[in-house]
């Protein structure tokens, strides 16, 4: 798949270091509308760190971020949300003591004209979106700590989807899930892609990458090994990039 025109996101020459160690070292990646870009690499390769610069959890030391060709400053998660960037973290980032609706709307509560939180409205909206994502979900009135791994995942996904994201970051969305739930997430990714969202997918499972992604950017030791079109490479090529840091000769 080739992409022409202005990318939805371009992270150009991003660097960030922690205590002298370069976690991300001059990395450039981009993402187009309706595209899924896989981010691959070993643990500690810098994938999550790079993507946290986009989601606002970390601040880059150097480099530029462009959204639709315009440079933006993302200094905190609020800035990222203002750009319609939504993130599903590996840890899910849920407040365990709050119920599904409170987590879904955390930081963006629906308030009445008097400034009070409209709890019923939020619960009813949560019921609507959950009916779409996970029709079996019933536990609206209990803290999310009482939910199963899959149910928690669906709350985290609902949070990203509800607010009309244009750019979605998914950090190992299927890591803790069973086969059925993994299938559900795959279908959701296809559906969102069809709606024209751009998705960054951090994923360890090569088969999922081959199945879901259009392109893959591979990182090793904080540096970008290369970005390839999935259609042009094999599993072995990708593994070679991840393990040896070697870019296959035939890929662009």
């Amino acid at each position: 798949m080739t992409n022409k025109g202005t990318p939805l996101v371009e992270m150009r020459d991003i660097s960030i270091s922690f205590g002298g160690i370069k976690a991300v070292d001059h990395v450039t990646i981009d993402l187009h509308p309706g595209e899924v870009v896989g981010l691959l690499g070993h643990n500690g390769a810098g994938k999550s760190t790079l993507i946290k610069c986009l989601s606002g959890a970390y601040q880059k030391d150097a480099g530029q971020i462009f959204i639709n060709g315009e440079e933006v400053e993302i200094n905190n998660p609020r800035d990222a949300r203002a750009q319609n960037i939504e993130t599903i973290y590996q840890t899910l980032a849920l407040a365990d003591n709050l119920d599904a609706a409170s987590n879904l709307f955390l930081g963006r509560e629906i308030v009445s004209p008097l400034g009070f939180v409209d709890e019923s409205k939020m619960e009813s909206e949560t019921r609507k979106i959950m009916a779409r994502l996970n029709p079996n979900f019933r536990k609206f009135a209990v803290p999310v700590s009482a939910l199963s791994g899959g149910q928690r995942q669906s709350v985290a996904i609902a949070r990203a989807v509800y607010f009309n994201a244009r750019i979605l970051i998914m950090d190992e969305p299927t890591a803790a899930l069973g086969p059925h739930e993994t299938q559900m997430v795959s279908e959701l990714i296809q559906e969102l892609k069809a709606q024209g969202l751009g998705i960054f997918l951090i994923e360890h499972d090569i088969h999922n990458v081959m199945k879901l992604c259009d392109r893959a950017s591979v990182m090793k030791n904080g540096q970008l090994v290369g970005t390839v079109n999935i259609a042009d490479v094999t599993d072995e090529d990708l593994l070679g990039m991840i393990i040896l840091g070697k870019k296959p000769a035939k890929a662009a």
């Binding site: 989601s55 606002g56 959890a57 905190n76 998660p77 609020r78 949300r81 993130t87 973290y89 840890t91 899910l92 980032a93 849920l94 407040a95 365990d96 003591n97 709050l98 409170s102 955390l106 930081g107 963006r108 509560e109 308030v111 400034g115 009070f116 939180v117 019923s120 409205k121 619960e123 009813s124 996970n134 079996n136 979900f137 019933r138 536990k139 609206f140 009135a141 209990v142 009482a146 199963s148 899959g150 149910q151 669906s154 069973g178 059925h180 739930e181 559900m184």
Partner: protein, 442 residues
Amino acid sequence: MTQAPPPISAKSHAADPHLGPVARFLRATEIDTRLLGMAGALLLIWVGFHLYGAIFNGFGAFLTPRNLWNLSVQTSSIGIMACGMVLVIVTRNIDLSVGAMLGVTAMVMGLLQVEVLPKFLGLGHPAIWIITVIVGMTLGTLIGTLHGWLIAYRGIPSFIVTLGGLLIWRGSAFLAAGGKTISPVDSTFALLGGGPYGAVGATGSWIVGILGCVGVLWMLRNGRANRRKHEFPLRPMWAETFLAVLGCGAIIGAVLLVNSYPWPAGILKQYYERLGQPVPEDAFISHGFAIPVLILITVGILMTILMTRTRFGRYVFAIGGNPEAASLAGINTRWMTLKIFALMGMLAGLSGAVASARLNSATNALGVFDELYVIAAAVIGGTSLAGGIGTIYGAIMGALVFQSLQTGMVLIGFDTAVQQIVVGCVLVLAVYLDNVYRSVSK
């Protein structure tokens, strides 16, 4: 997804034949079983002390209008601060300095109204108490803000900041007045502490009570309308009626109680002397709700609204549940921490006004050990030190339980050493029971 859908919300009000009548009743009325447990414990303590007094001392002094009225006044100062402590503990912090903040704000308010303001305004000027309370609460807010800033923006653990604060503000209170006791306070200011004049009387109490009942009915009605609007299951009508009767009954009961405690003979005499009349034979003037109790109730209601109906409250719970998630959701956790400690300071200042008004003086002993009582009240009331869990009404109930124990033991003549042992045991037991309750109700 994989789990079979348990019929939690959709059918929660349908009569489930497998449940016993008690469980069905609790489910239909949606009464918080924790609250019920605390009310039960409180009743047990009250009846227990009364019977002990009646059997061993020949006089049950606990369940008398006089004692319960005094109990309500004594609970106020700790209760006001416990409301703020809930927020602090829910966000996984602690404030050991509340007693010292109370002490220093009370001392500054004492000096201001006794030695400074009368020089400019004249003794007994009606503005004195207002200026004094505003200055006291502002001072508390500033101290709390300083603590919050050191904790949130300078990364010093709250335990250390407020332990330092405890020593610093206690010492400052002593230095401010050179160790003297400042007395008597402004006569209007003194009303904030209760006493026969510092209460709203029979008519005032009925007005408060009726407003309370209207509030209860409005909340039930509003809640029902809201559920219907969003097509959530409704409580059965009998359950709504029961809640209305229970709520209004409790309020009216409280009004009857405070109205049945008359002014003592000495005060009556003073009152009629001032009117230039003889004391009538059948003179009966009710105390009614004490002003500090009304302050506590107001603080409790406002703080409950803050915690359950505003974004601020949401964020407090979210930070307590998972600080990282809160921060990733775009919540400025540092700024929140600063505001929470500032609020705690403000409430300590208010509490300082109530406590010094009650004593009619600002002393160096004011607020000593209050930090421990306040923390104990919040914890007995179900605030989890692990963070994320706590309620305002729980903390106020906790303060009431705590004060009931102390008052009760004084009434039946336990000495201080035994009192301390009992209170210590109750604190540990309460937290243990709470743990058990939580693991069972999960």
